[in-house]
Amino acid sequence: MKPAQQFKTQATVMTHDLHHRELIHTALSKYEAVRDQSKAAYQDWQAARQAAAEAKWEAVNHLDEYLVEFSNKLEARGTKVHWASTGLQAKEIILGIIREKKARSIVKSKAMTSEEIHLNEALAEEGFEVVESDLGEFIVQLRKEPPYHIVFPAMHLTRGEISELFARELGSAPTQSPEELTMIARRVLRQKYIRADIGFTGANFAVAETGMISITENEGNARLTAALPKVMISLLGIEKVVPRLEDLALLLPMLSTIGTGQPLTCYNSFYGGPRQPGEPDGPDEFHVVLLDNRRTELLADGEQRDALHCIRCGGCLNVCPIFRNVGGHTYHTTYSGPIGSVITPHLRGLQEWKHLSFASSLCGACTETCPVKINLHHHLLHNRRNAARQKPSMFEKVAFKLFAFVINRPSLYRSSKRAGRLLQIFHPLVKGTRFDPAYAWTKTRDLPPIARQTFKEYWRQRS
């Protein structure tokens, strides 16, 4: 099935799933309450957004310099930096390291970039054991499904469903207690950390000035992933770079404020290289894989380049009424919600993914919430324009030409009103049925009739 058809089919199912609607609404209402509390701590949230956007703007517009600086600083402390143009290359680099180390098991902390390049599938195919250590990711991995949301991977599941899953997959006793469920996962995961040969992470930021990656988390799983195994591999998109360490004084709290509603997440760690002489812990080897995977195409698009500001906070998903009604899996993309609808056509092909840019009421809640001021809903319009320009639908092209022709000719517009009035006499015969030309609307909604006297008719009569 083509992605557009798949989206529509699944959206039809999901929009009728009132249990899902309620579940997501409840979860996000709690999120909104704490997010607003955290936001209220800022003296001037709008000024903070501006400063954050400027820091990312500077990084993205000088990517060539900052990436090299980041790489040089890291290598100076013994890190091996790899550059991957495509997802395939990134997978080969990572598999190459794993094979060379004769590793068998890999423990991972949350990394959307690894979802993007389908790393887990590639590793499993080669017979490696891969375990997701973030609780939400651990849950969806057990269910053999992709994350539902870029920050809350398992937000679509109830405690009961997780308990059943653990009972089935891990043999644990059923429980409704979140603490007990966490302890069940923890008991399994602790053993994995100890046995793992490779620790794999993503990164939230890459600091050029100091040559460090920054990882934000709440569970401490990324710390264990980085601290215990002998080899650490981090995969990050090239847009993760920020110029200065100081920039994170703003970006880290903003990421958590919008991401989870916390003033700051529980753990924020920096990794600047393998274990140095005299240091008590850390990996013997540290590999950083920088991933392009068509991000440079976005960089080349001056109009939409700011989409590379994205810090993957998920804030736009949380406020998006489309996301809230269709759910994360309906998109069939790594990045869902407004940011996914904007960037997926660039990353995976405009014609195949343009439907996501049309599946929006353009309400702008995404743009309003974005901490780094990406002009999200306007970019949906840009994608629509680019798609129509590149490959117009003949039907729509003719329809809009006709529309423009009629609108620009007052007498023709008046005649079409009269024609419309005549036609609507017969409308009740087909209203809400498949034969109704307005079926897409009238299936669920009434349509008001053309007024007996339109305003323009009233105005002509008056003057």
């Binding site: 929009t15 609607r21 009424p321 009421s361 517009y413 669920t444 909604r445 349509l447 305003f455």
Partner: protein
């Protein structure tokens, strides 16, 4: 002041009373109202669908006919945003760029025009009902009309305003409503249930396009709740 009323196509066709109410209010305040018969639409359907050339064909006429206007007032945040925000982008790097930017400066959403430009918040209206207010997304986010309609409603006698628990889109979105009717309807259902929770008799808005969608759903649901445009409330006296 001579005020040019821009009457969007759907207001002209289906909600003439909204524009008539606006005329009454503006004339009562002592202004001259004109309404050019040559323009019927801002071109947003074509623009939002990606057909910018066709949108420009319509929008050029709008630019030409409104060039000499002193102030342009629009009773729909969505069409208002088209003229105020999107024309500049539509005509960027064309011969009409300057004209589009000049037009943007004198375009006002109705409630914003009354409150910000004319400094009027009390129109002596009376509307004995419990109402809730729906913010059209374009009016709210592109044009910043949040306080203005509420200030106007606060001075309407015997009117009780109850806010909805959340600020969400009604799901209309122009062609989106026809292209993805299942999502649009689900969003509308969320909106209607938020409005119904307030116990209001009316949903008031400064955008008839949203109200067309909301009313369409309410009627189909058999709800007794009604929708009404802000101008109609304010003209009631």
């Amino acid at each position: 002041m001579t005020i040019t009323l821009f009457v969007p196509c759907f207001v002209d066709l289906m909600f003439p009373n909204v524009a008539i109410s606006m005329v009454r209010i503006l004339e009562r305040l002592g202004h001259k109202v004109e309404c050019p018969g040559e323009i019927a639409c801002c071109g947003q359907p074509a623009y939002n669908s990606g057909y910018w050339d066709e949108a420009r064909t319509v929008a050029v006429k709008v630019l030409e006919h409104l060039e000499g206007s002193e102030a342009i007032v629009i009773g729909s945040g969505s069409c208002g945003a088209m003229l105020h925000v999107f024309y500049a982008e539509l005509f960027a790097a064309t011969a009409y760029e300057r004209q589009a930017k000049a037009l943007a400066k004198k375009c006002y959403e109705f409630s914003d025009f009354l409150v910000t430009k004319l400094g009027v918040t009390d129109l002596g209206a009376r509307f004995p009902a419990k109402v809730t207010f729906h913010d059209g997304c374009h009016g709210l986010r592109e044009l910043g009309a949040f306080k203005q309609p509420r200030q106007l409603l606060s001075n309407v006698k015997e009117l009780e305003l109850v806010e909805m628990g959340e600020q969400v889109c009604c799901g209309f979105g122009g062609t989106f409503a026809a292209k993805f009717p299942m999502i649009s309807t689900a969003m509308g259902e969320v909106k209607c249930s938020l409005a119904q929770k307030t116990g209001a008799e009316y949903i008031v808005s400064n955008d008839s396009s949203c109200l067309m969608h909301i009313q369409g759903l309410l009627t189909r649901q058999g709800s007794r709740m009604k929708t009404i445009h802000l101008a109609e409330v304010l003209a009631n006296g």
